[in-house]
């Protein structure tokens, strides 16, 4: 699941889809943590998941704010077209 998310980040053009992929990566990490916590009977993993979800939420908010700022400037969410840093 993580790899699917990673490929999505690298290969998709739409910025929203890239964010989705990032969330996918984070959720895959969450899933791994919960699964192993259940398997090993240790609740540390479940506690850590809480933190991860919080951070994911905050990061999603900030990221979407950046996308909106970018959209206002370039009128597109196509990442291939956002190349202001190009030589």
């Amino acid at each position: 699941m993580f790899m699917i998310g990673a490929v999505g980040v690298l290969a998709r053009r739409n910025a929203i889809i890239v964010f989705m992929s990032i969330e996918l990566m984070l959720n895959s990490a969450n899933l791994t943590l919960v699964a192993f916590s259940a398997f090993l009977g240790d609740s540390t993993g479940q506690a850590l998941v809480f933190f991860v979800m919080t951070v994911a939420a905050a990061e999603a908010a900030v990221g979407l704010a950046i996308v909106i700022a970018l959209f206002r400037r370039k009128r597109t969410v196509n990442l291939n077209e956002i190349n202001i840093l190009k030589w």
Binding site: A6, V9, L10, L79, I82, I84, L85, K86, W87
Partner: protein
């Protein structure tokens, strides 16, 4: 006495600086002219004072050296250390030269006030002329080779500046450049000679070098090389074969420049140098032969060209080259004081002739072609009479100055142990040609029918120009009395005065006193006959039966054209030397080396970097995802490495 010696040199320097810096502000021509001439006049007076003082001393005590300041110190090479000071040496020879330079120079400066009247660069002219006098005095008063060379180069520079004075005309700039380049070629010889002197003797001071030389015996190859190299420098500066070609072109400069620099003083620097180094030449009889031969060949060669020239100044220019040849002939047959004596008399009458020609040019409103003159005797009486005196003097008619000096040279060429009858014959032929072309010049310019238009009204020159002419005429007439030889019951004051300077050389050459022989009188009579004959021939050809000149130039047309075109020497140099050098510079050195190699390397390396960069910069896509790809790739590699490592 010692204390005032530097003043001789410093007055013209002050004049140059003052006129050079403040000249444009001074609007009064008389003031500029007064300052310019005044400095030289003051130098002359100081020189006269020193001379008079020297007369009262014993001959052995007459040499004095004054050091101004050290210049170069202790350059340690394999031959020892070199220290040179700016120091001046006053002895019989250098004070005589200084008197000639400042005396004739003063008269020419005064003349220039009238001649250069109304010129836009009036102040610049006098500034340069003062600089020239300064450099020339450095040359003749130097006590070592390096200060002499400083003066040597300085007069070359001033020659360039003054020939190219009217720089708006292209030809003038070319002539100035030609003079400078040819001088430079000669200077290479001078520098090499100077270096050899240092390598051989360990010093550049005349005293040290000459006293060391006086204990050597003749025939050493180094000394031969030294003297020949120094003579190469002299051929450039004093316009002998092969480096004489700049002097006729130098006539593009104002006439006072031609009079001062290219007749009386700068061109005599080479003669002075040989005289100063007489002991070195005495040690190398081979070089003396070279000097005498080059001198006498130049003398007749230049005289032959002067026969047919139509520009009044060109005739005088070739005459100067020819007379310089006589001076070198004298040096080459060990008649050193005779050569210097001729230098002195030549300064008088050649300056006179040039200044006179300037008066003619002035009167004819810048016309210089003698074919368009004639009959000017009526209009320019003072110019006419002074010019005639100068012409008669140079032709060698007694009792005018030229007779005594030239005759002594010819006699010594015949009788000296280092002379020969062959040298005498060539010299005598040259004298015949001299008399002829001077006669031709006088008759075509001043006598006969007027060949100029009626709108030209020739008028006599102003006093500032005619008074120097008269003074120089007096000197040309009576200057010879300084050197009346013993055979004519004279005391030969010049030879007596210069004796101590040249005695070491005479000793080395084993020359003794000569008795008076009847051959001397015979040759003297022959000289006069030749001179008179030359003038009579010119009178016949140009005044009495005027058809002869045209008939001959038609019959011997190839020879005539060769002479008129100066034996095509300039064209030969152009083809053999100038054009190949220019071509090599253009084709190979400029287009080949400079443009392809040097520019190619510099521009090419820039282009290379540029090309490389244009490839590398494509990494920066600006798209965040491509950076992320690299990022992820790096993580993958890192993880792989860690996994492999732990196994």
């Amino acid at each position: 006495m010692i204390a005032i010696i530097p003043l001789i040199v410093l007055f013209p320097l002050a004049g140059f600086l003052f006129l050079g810096l403040l000249g444009p502000r001074l609007k009064n021509e008389k003031l500029i002219g007064a300052i310019g001439s005044g400095t030289v006049g003051l130098s002359f007076l100081v020189a006269v004072g020193i001379f008079l003082q020297m007369l009262s001393l014993d001959p052995e005590q007459r040499k004095q050296v004054v050091e101004l300041f050290p210049w170069l110190s202790t350059f340690t090479g394999s031959t020892g250390s070199l220290s040179v000071s700016v120091a001046y040496q006053v002895d019989q020879l250098s004070i005589l030269m200084a008197l000639i330079v400042t005396g004739v120079g003063f008269l020419i400066h005064v003349y220039s006030i009238g001649y250069m009247h109304g010129d836009r660069g009036f102040w610049r002219f006098f500034a340069y002329m003062n600089l020239f006098i300064f450099a020339m005095l450095n040359l003749v008063l130097a006590d070592n080779f390096l200060v002499m060379f400083l003066g040597w180069e300085g007069v070359g520079l001033c020659s360039y500046l003054l020939i190219g004075f009217w720089y708006e005309k292209k030809f003038t700039g070319d002539a100035a450049l030609k003079a400078f380049v040819l001088n430079r070629i000669g200077d290479l010889g001078f520098i090499l000679g100077m270096l050899l002197v240092f390598a051989t003797f360990g010093s550049l001071r005349f005293d040290t070098v000459f006293s060391a030389a006086s204990v050597l015996s003749p025939g050493r190859t180094t000394i031969v090389w030294i003297t020949l190299l120094l003579f190469v420098g002299a051929t450039g500066k004093s316009a002998q074969i092969p480096l004489y070609v700049w002097l006729p072109d130098a006539m593009a400069g104002p006439t006072p420049v031609s009079a001062l620099i290219h007749a009386a003083t700068m061109v005599t620097a080479g003669v002075y140098m040989v005289a100063r180094c007489s002991i070195l030449y005495a040690l190398a009889p081979v070089s003396m032969e070279v000097v005498a031969t080059v001198g006498v060949i130049t003398a007749i060669f230049a005289a032959s060209i002067g026969l047919v020239q139509n520009d009044i100044k060109k005739v005088l220019a070739y005459s100067t080259i020819s007379q310089l040849g006589y001076m070198f002939l004298a040096m080459g047959v060990a008649a050193f004081s005779a050569g210097i004596f001729h230098l002195m008399t030549h300064a008088f009458f050649k300056a006179l002739l040039f200044l006179g020609s300037g008066a003619v040019i002035h009167a004819m409103h810048d016309e210089q072609d003698i074919q368009k003159m004639g009959g000017l005797r009526r209009y320019l009486p003072v110019t006419y009479w002074t010019f005639v005196i100068g012409a008669v003097a140079i032709a060698g008619i007694p009792p005018f100055a030229g007779f005594f000096s030239k005759d002594e040279i010819l006699w010594k060429a015949f009788s000296s142990e280092y002379g020969s009858w062959a040298l005498w014959i060539v010299g005598a032929l040259g004298a015949a040609l001299t008399a002829f072309y001077m006669g031709r010049l006088v008759f075509l310019t001043f006598e006969g029918k007027e060949r100029f238009g009626h709108d030209t009204h020739p008028h006599e020159a102003p006093k500032s120009m005619t008074v120097p002419l008269v003074i120089l005429a007096v000197l040309s007439a009576f200057g010879g009395l300084f050197g009346v030889p013993k055979s004519l019951l004279g005391s030969n004051a010049v030879e007596h005065w210069l004796g101590p300077v040249f005695d070491p050389a005479y000793h080395k050459l084993l020359m003794g006193e000569h008795d008076i022989v009847w051959t001397e009188y015979l040759l003297m009579v022959l000289s006069v006959a030749i001179a008179a004959g030359g003038i009579y021939a010119a009178w016949t050809v140009y005044l009495k039966r005027t058809g002869i000149a045209e008939a001959w130039s038609a019959r011997f047309s190839r020879l005539y054209r060769a002479l008129l075109n100066k034996y095509y020497v300039d064209e030969a140099y152009d083809a053999a030397v100038v054009t190949p050098i220019v071509k090599i510079s253009d084709e190979y050195l400029w287009k080949g080396v400079d443009m392809v190699v040097i520019d190619g390397t510099v521009n090419g390396s820039a282009k290379g970097v540029s090309a490389l960069a244009s490839i590398v910069r494509r990494v920066q896509t600006g798209v965040a995802q491509s950076y992320a790809v690299v990022f992820v790739g790096g993580i993958v590699l890192l993880v792989t490495w860690l996994l492999l490592q732990s196994h």
